[in-house]
Amino acid sequence: MLLRLLTAFALLSPLASQAELVIVASPRSGPIELSREQAEKLYLGRTTTLADGTPVKLVDLPSGTTRDEFYLKLTNKNPSQILAYRSRLVFTGRAYPPLAAESVTEARQWLADTPNLIGYLERGDVTGNLRILLRLP
C-alpha cells in the first residue's frame, strides 16, 4: 500500500518530468568553460567566478518545475532544502541570490544580451543567440 502510494506520488510529482536542462550564456561572453562541479559551486553560492577567475552572475527562472528540477539535478537538493540553504547565505550577507527572471522569455533575453551572465533553460527553449555550456540530462 505504502509502495503504491509512493509510486503514485512519484508519478504525480513535477520532479518526475524528464526534460533535458542546459546551462547557457551569451556568445559574447568569450570562451567560457563550465564544469558541472563549478556550476554547482556557483549556484550554491560557494564561488562567484569561473575556474579561470572570470566573475559571472547568475539567473534563476521563476518558481516552478524547471527551477526545481534544475536544482535537484545539479545539487541533489529539493526545493525546500535549496530555500533553507540559500536563506543562510543571504541572511549572513555571504552571497547574493541569482537574479530572478519573471519568465523564461525574460531570462532568455537577459542571457542573450549580457556577457558573463549564466542561466539554465530547458533544451527546447534554447534559441540561436545562446551558447550551451553544459548539459544536465
Partner: protein
C-alpha cells in the same frame, strides 16, 4: 552605534544612487513565531542566558523562540558592499526593541580574500552566523546544551576571510578581532580584545567547522545569590574568593568543532563545544548529534545533547557551615543537563516551515539545567526529568 548606523545608511543611499546597472539593493526578512511549554509548572524552559527566569502565568510561552529580522544589503561597488540586519526578540536589556545584529562593510580584496569591518557575529559555533534564522535548520532552535555555552553574539571589530580550494572542497580560514557585550539574566558582561581563528570546510553535501577564541572577560552579577555570597565573603575577609565572583579581570577560552553531512536524503549534524574560564563563570563542555531524514517536504529528526560542568563558577573553600551558600551560588550558574529530542520539520509552502519538537530533559545534579529560577527553594529540591514541547512557524520573505 546609532551614529555608525546613520553613517552606514547614508553611505548606502549615496552608493545605490550612484551605481549604475546592475544596482543591487535588496531588502529581505525572516522570522519565527513559536511557543514552548513544559509539563511542570515550576520549570520554565530558557534556551539562552539572555532570557529572564520568570514568565508568570504563561502556559505557552512565546518569548523563547519568537523573532523577527529585517536585512538590507547594498552593493556599493563591485568589491564593496554593506549589510545591515536588525532583529526583534525577547531578551534581557532589549525586550523586543530592535537590535542591530549585522552592520558591516565587506571588501572583497581578491576573489580569495574578504575583509569585513563593523558589527558581525561571533563565530563561536557552527551556526553562530544564523542563530536567529531558524528557517535554515531542521530544528526548532539549535540545541541549547551547546548553544547556551556562549551568549555573546555581536562582534564589533574586524575579520578576515581567506578561501582556498582544497580538492573538490573549499577551505575558509577566518581570523577575527573585536569586542562584544551582552545583558544576560542577572549579569551584564563584556568580551574585550577577543581574538579568534576559525576553519570552515565546505564540499558537496558536507561541511565542517572548527574554531578557537581567547578573550578578556568582564562580568558583573546582580542577583540575590551573588549578593548573599559576596556579603558573606566580605564578612569573612575572603579577598581572593570575592575577587573571583565579579570583576574585569577574567580570561576565557572557547573551542568548538562540528560537521554537517547530507547524503541520500539522510542528514547528520554534530557539534562539540567547550568553554574554559579562569573566574566569574563556570567551565563546561557540551555536544549533540542530530540525525534526520528528508521525506519530500517532511524532515523528521532526533537529537541527543548533553552539557557537562567541568569547574563551578566559584571554588571558594569556606568552613563547612558556609558551603551551602557557595553551592547555592553555583547552582544557577550551572546549566548542565542532557536531553533527547524528537522533532519534525514540515515545509508546508515555499518560504514557510512548520516545526514541532518534544524533548525530555534531565538536569544534572547541582543545578536546574536550562530551567532557571530566582527562588533559592527551587535549587534545594531534587530535580526530576522535564518534558518540553515546542511548536513554531519559520518564514523568510
Amino acid at each position: 552605534m546609532r551614529q555608525l548606523l546613520t553613517t552606514l545608511l547614508l553611505a548606502l543611499a549615496a552608493g545605490s544612487a550612484a551605481a549604475d546597472a546592475p544596482t543591487r539593493f535588496a531588502l529581505s526578512g525572516f522570522g519565527t513565531l513559536g511557543v514552548v511549554r513544559s509539563d511542570k509548572d515550576d520549570y520554565h524552559f530558557r534556551s539562552s542566558g539572555t532570557q529572564s527566569a520568570n514568565s508568570p502565568g504563561q502556559n505557552f510561552d512565546p518569548s523563547v523562540d519568537s523573532v523577527l529580522g529585517i536585512q538590507g544589503t547594498g552593493r556599493l561597488h563591485d568589491q564593496l558592499d554593506l549589510t545591515v540586519q536588525a532583529i526583534s526578540r525577547q531578551a534581557t536589556g532589549y525586550n523586543y526593541t530592535p537590535h542591530i545584529t549585522w552592520a558591516y562593510l565587506r571588501y572583497r580584496a581578491t576573489p580569495a580574500l574578504t575583509v569585513r569591518v563593523g558589527r558581525t557575529t561571533t563565530p563561536f559555533f557552527m551556526f553562530s552566523d544564523s542563530l536567529n534564522l531558524n528557517y535554515a535548520t531542521p530544528w526548532v532552535r539549535p540545541p541549547s546544551e551547546v548553544y547556551n555555552l556562549n551568549p555573546f553574539s555581536d562582534l564589533d571589530g574586524i575579520d578576515l576571510l581567506y578561501r582556498i580550494p582544497l580538492g573538490e572542497m573549499d577551505l575558509e580560514i577566518q581570523g577575527l578581532f573585536g569586542n562584544s557585550a551582552v545583558s544576560a539574566r542577572s549579569a551584564s558582561t563584556r568580551l574585550k580584545n577577543a581574538k579568534g581563528i576559525n576553519f570552515g570546510l565546505v564540499g558537496s553535501g558536507f561541511s565542517a567547522h572548527a574554531g578557537y577564541a581567547r578573550t578578556r572577560l568582564e562580568l558583573q552579577w546582580d542577583d540575590g545569590f551573588y549578593r548573599a555570597l559576596s556579603n558573606l565573603l566580605t564578612a569573612l575577609d575572603e579577598k581572593t574568593a570575592l575577587a573571583e565572583l565579579s570583576g574585569t579581570k577574567g580570561t576565557t577560552e572557547f573551542f568548538s568543532a562540528g560537521f554537517q553531512w547530507e547524503k541520500n536524503n539522510w542528514l547528520t549534524i554534530a557539534e562539540f563545544a567547550k568553554r574554559r574560564a579562569d573566574r566569574y563563570i563556570n567551565s563546561a563542555h557540551a555536544w549533540y548529534v542530530t540525525v534526520g531524514y528528508h521525506f519530500n517536504s517532511l524532515t523528521p529528526y532526533a537529537t541527543y545533547s548533553q552539557q557537562t560542568q567541568d569547574a563551578p563558577a566559584s571554588d571558594a573553600r569556606l568552613p563547612p557551615v558556609f558551603m551551602p551558600l557557595v553551592n547555592l551560588y553555583n547552582a544557577p550558574r550551572n546549566n548542565a543537563q542532557h536531553g533527547v529530542a524528537l522533532g519534525l520539520r514540515w515545509d508546508l509552502a515555499r518560504n514557510i516551515a512548520l516545526k514541532s519538537q518534544v524533548e525530555r530533559i534531565d538536569a544534572a545534579p547541582g543545578g536546574r539545567g536550562m530551567f532557571p529560577s530566582d527562588s533559592a527553594a527551587d535549587y534545594l529540591k531534587p530535580t526530576s526529568p522535564v518534558h518540553v514541547f515546542s511548536m513554531s512557524v519559520d518564514f523568510v520573505f
